[in-house]
Amino acid sequence: MNLTKTYIPKKFHQAVVKWQETYLPDYDFLLDNWDRYFPRDTRFELCAFREMGMCNEIECGEQKGSTKFRQAAEMEHQQGLHVLGAVKAQASTEFGSIQQHQLTLARAQEEEEQFWILRMMAEELRHGYQMFHLLLEDDWSAVTDQSGPEMVEEILSMQTGSHILGAFNVDFDSFIDNVTFCALIDRVGKYQLSMQRISAYKPMAESMPQMLREEAFHLAAGVVPLRRWMEKAAQDSVYITTQDIQKAINKWLPRGLEMFGDERGGGTNVRYGLKPMKNAEAQAQYYQEVGKVVRDLNMRFIRARLPELSLAQAESLLEKLLADGGSSRGISLEELISMPHRDFFRRRGVPAFKMVGWAGENFDDVEAYLRHLTVHLPDGYRAGRDFKDYAQMIRRVASAELTGDEAARTMPGLRRVGGVCPCSRAVRWVVEEPDGNGSGGQAQAAR
């Protein structure tokens, strides 16, 4: 590992700190109590890291074998636009997820789980900062008319409802969302970061390794609490049920699948050497990996409910339940969790607004479909704005007022009603230093 540590120019660094004070107010608490939960871990620092010594040649696509680009201006215009879009989308997701997590962070029942999420939020802040480093270090004028400061301002001004990707425009309803989001949506992040690790734009590739290292823990911050909850659920805890977990998976998995982009696309990224896989291939791997998580959680449930079973006996019981349904040894299939069909509750991509049910069944009647969804989605979510917007949209599609593609382009558009002070729209995050001092990030060898 050969990392270089960098800071973005002071006025932008201060803009991120100001944003953090608004949307991540527990940041100081995290740092003050860092040694309590992470006594041997390197303390968190808001900075950008670049991995040195990575591959210099483009690794896939039409320019495979050519030297990677160090500057945006070296790329073809369309290629540069794709890179810029990816950097901005990545930045948006990092800041967006913090806004979502903050909504329900305080509701955690276990302090350790809460602290893990808090650390994860701080690291997402660093990842957003990392993307700002890419936007500000390079000259993007050959690609866009928007200046670096304007791009930073635009991203810091986004809120739940105006972010680039749908998963980051959905409110959290309980701490189950915090944990499930880490297990499912951060897993998409892992795929995207892994793919961007080979990017033909070298500064992007060099930004990925440290983000991936941190992302590994973010997934654990989701999966470990879920495993513990499955044990509690098996012991008939009053605090959590497998139904709660199932509904959270039903809420987030469709959004995770959509984060890969349209199933028919992704070829351009491969051609430009920006990612090694098309959307459908990466999405299929992701769906399979989530299936592995679900199976693992079910095993955790069975072993906790029937501790007298050996591993082999528990595995064969799970197989029997999955194959035959019904119940066996006091456990019914309904008590376990299952993967929703990959076309369930989709609003982007090939299955968008096609009224595919949880088990893959097709619906003709929109009201019957919406009733079906309400059975499978968390109560708090279906009572919220995002679901209402979806319901209105799918009714318009069902009445042929809109096509599925047209509807997909408008979703999600979460409207804030009274949740945000109107004057906040006037806030500018990036403020010029009176003395003109504010440029000049500094780099140093980190490790």
Partner: protein, 149 residues
């Protein structure tokens, strides 16, 4: 089957391996200890996930090795790789899985700037001692002391 024929994949450990490692630990030690592995893997994943390796065979964890580079401990100021936990499926022993896990981990330690790698082995566990011996490890003058409290 020789080492080259063994279709075992050595790769970085992921969160999805917690169940597999718990199962392997149970197979080796006879105890089901999910909480221990959830906590332990959570710990390692947030420190240096690239140091953590598993051997995968037919989609199942066939072996694993956990460790990290540290410095400043026991008077060892230079960065030192530590192999702390490992396990190989008893049914697959003798197929160089442990060696391949160690090679991957040691290579990572070297990239991290470690000039040596250390581990502690219970003297009664002769099989593990000879495994490390076969990798070129030698007894070190640093002795382990313990006192009951």
């Amino acid at each position: 089957m020789t080492e080259s024929e063994t279709p075992v994949r050595i790769r970085q450990l992921e969160d999805t391996d917690i169940g597999g490692i718990t199962a392997l630990d149970e197979k080796i030690g006879g105890q089901y200890r999910p909480e221990i592995w959830e906590r332990r893997i959570g710990y390692y994943l947030r420190r240096d996930p690239e140091a953590l390796v598993v051997a995968e065979l037919d989609g199942k964890v066939a072996g694993f090795m956990l460790g990290e580079v540290r410095s400043g401990e026991f008077g060892l100021e230079e960065p030192t790789g530590w192999i702390e936990v490992m396990g190989v499926d008893p049914d697959l022993r003798g197929q160089a899985i442990g060696r391949r896990l160690a090679e991957r981990m040691l290579s990572h330690f070297q990239n991290q700037g470690a000039s040596s790698v250390r581990t502690l082995v219970d003297e009664t566990m002769t099989e593990i001692a000879s495994f490390f011996d076969s990798l070129g490890f030698e007894p070190a003058p640093l002795r382990s002391f313990v006192k009951s409290l």
